[in-house]
Symmetry: C2
Subunit: 379 residues, 2 copies
Amino acid sequence: MLRKVFIIGAGMIRFGKYEEVWLEDLGREACWKTIKDAGISPRDIQVGYCSHSNGGRVAGQRILKEVGISGIEVINIENACSGGSTSFHQAYIDIAAGVHEIAIVVGVDKMYGAGGLIPPNPSDFEGLLGRTLPCRYAMAINRHMYEYATTVEQLAKISVKSHKNAALNPFAQYQNEVTLEEVLNSRMIADPLTLLQCCPTGDGAAALILASNGVSRKYCNKPVKVGASIVTSGEFQGADSDLTGSELTIRAAREAYETFGGGPENIDVCELHDAFTAGELMHYENLGFCKKGEGGLFIERGDAEIGGRIPVNPSGGLLSKGHPLGATGVAQIVEIVWQLRGEAGKRQVKDAKVGLTQTIGGAIPEIGSGACSVNIFYR
Amino acid sequence: MLRKVFIIGAGMIRFGKYEEVWLEDLGREACWKTIKDAGISPRDIQVGYCSHSNGGRVAGQRILKEVGISGIEVINIENACSGGSTSFHQAYIDIAAGVHEIAIVVGVDKMYGAGGLIPPNPSDFEGLLGRTLPCRYAMAINRHMYEYATTVEQLAKISVKSHKNAALNPFAQYQNEVTLEEVLNSRMIADPLTLLQCCPTGDGAAALILASNGVSRKYCNKPVKVGASIVTSGEFQGADSDLTGSELTIRAAREAYETFGGGPENIDVCELHDAFTAGELMHYENLGFCKKGEGGLFIERGDAEIGGRIPVNPSGGLLSKGHPLGATGVAQIVEIVWQLRGEAGKRQVKDAKVGLTQTIGGAIPEIGSGACSVNIFYR
């Protein structure tokens, strides 16, 4: 019943600290680049989806007006760290259902001055007592280290890889390499997670143009196809079950693989949710890239490196590219589009044909309120 | 290509001031009532849409978890005062496209302690200088009074009608009647709009269950059908054009009438956006209920009363029922569902067969950023 959906434009600004710049300015730049990339006119766009967490009222309308888009349906979406992927998903459904032919998705956030990346909710007693996201990830990875002999060096190696990739990415917030010693010796945030193993506060914007088959043929000679787009909710990270797994990610990935008609063995490149190194290590397992308990080996063997078995976060990921909540999921897809088109410059994964993105979010783990999205793309 | 969509459940809590109650509690109550009304189990629900403006991260997931719903796709939506209608619209598209069979929509907001109904955006220079929403509506109605000899008494009569209806509505924030003198003599907010002509600050929640035809037949013997659902954006209220009209509402209404295959003459009952009496008066014209300039006559003749030609806001509307942003659009639809089912108690519009809702929102008028939704329902 659903039609095929194509991505015909992708663009983003460099993530970073934009203190004197408005949200509208960040969003506008990402939209312009993307519209130009697609080779369409702003007037061709029929519907807009905007994801943000701190953008205030009708942020999407405010941003799209800046690129001359008004008078169309515009929807603003929030889903914590999965907001960007969720806005993509809604645009995907819109085009797939035949409601519109061309959609723009813009993800944007200004995190500086927003009172912390995700301030604990007043009803989150555990969070207010200190069981915040870094601590939850630290607890989980401690258990992982206990059960599977995962080491702090394996964990730190994820940050080294992230920075190495980001140094090749002109859109990354941090473009400097770091050594294993620097990662291990940086300030302790939540044992064993040091500062360089936690994503930074940052501002940013990214955008995509989605289109139906007919439109795609008209404008684009190298469209990227959407193979699966799953958004789900549930337990953020095994509060009642296995602390070292993410039932939410496992389930979203299974549904995505089923929809796509393939499995982890088909994935050539992946952008996943590495808000903390601990998350990336466990997501190797959650996404089926390796067996349960072998996440440490996966990074140690170099499997996640560019040139490895399944390159993970060639962009630098949330750790080094940055993590402006609403922008993140969209930026992940932008990177995958560039990788599948062969336009990722020095960080290009050779001959990438199928890419996967994963984001997971939610600030209130103890009441099981998380959102997760897994998308698969191919050329 | 799109399937027919049915509303099989509707419910809300009384709007008002809930200082010691959490957002999750408000939303949970509305969801429970609605699920019970539909006669389904929480486990039957396949997707959730939540609209809110001040609810924090993943509010929909937090609320639905409270009624035992987890593990499904949940999307959080913001579109200022149109947020509720936009979340309904997204659920409508979802079911119409065949993505899911049963959806829950919950609109919720806690406005007390949120720093004002819609605080001016830092980039809204005119707003920061005092050109806020009450002032904009006041400017528009002043022009209307100048051009069409509309009177302050006609305007005030809208508040009298609103309170009269709300006194019959157990879900309204204010359930007391007011006299014309009381309206005219209440504190001046923005000449000629007095306090009783401006909607109150309030908390609230409302919910709906949408279903496909097959599911609807199984559970519901008096479903309400969706005739049209339009969301659009653009000029909030004639900044560049006619100050006394709303191009956005006119366009959304035209599209809704076209989709439905009818016109204002077919509408038996209407819930529209009366954040200020001035808005309701001009929306009579924008929706085609009367000719341009005759909004004052429309209320004066009693056309908008229950028992009148087109009863408007039998619930009491935003003015008396209250206006918790994310809840408003959903609550409007709840009222229309009850009216079309003949379950609206003392405020029942006799033999109502077709109902219309309209909401318009957006805080940054000078850059033309508004959202508007018009829906048509029938039995």
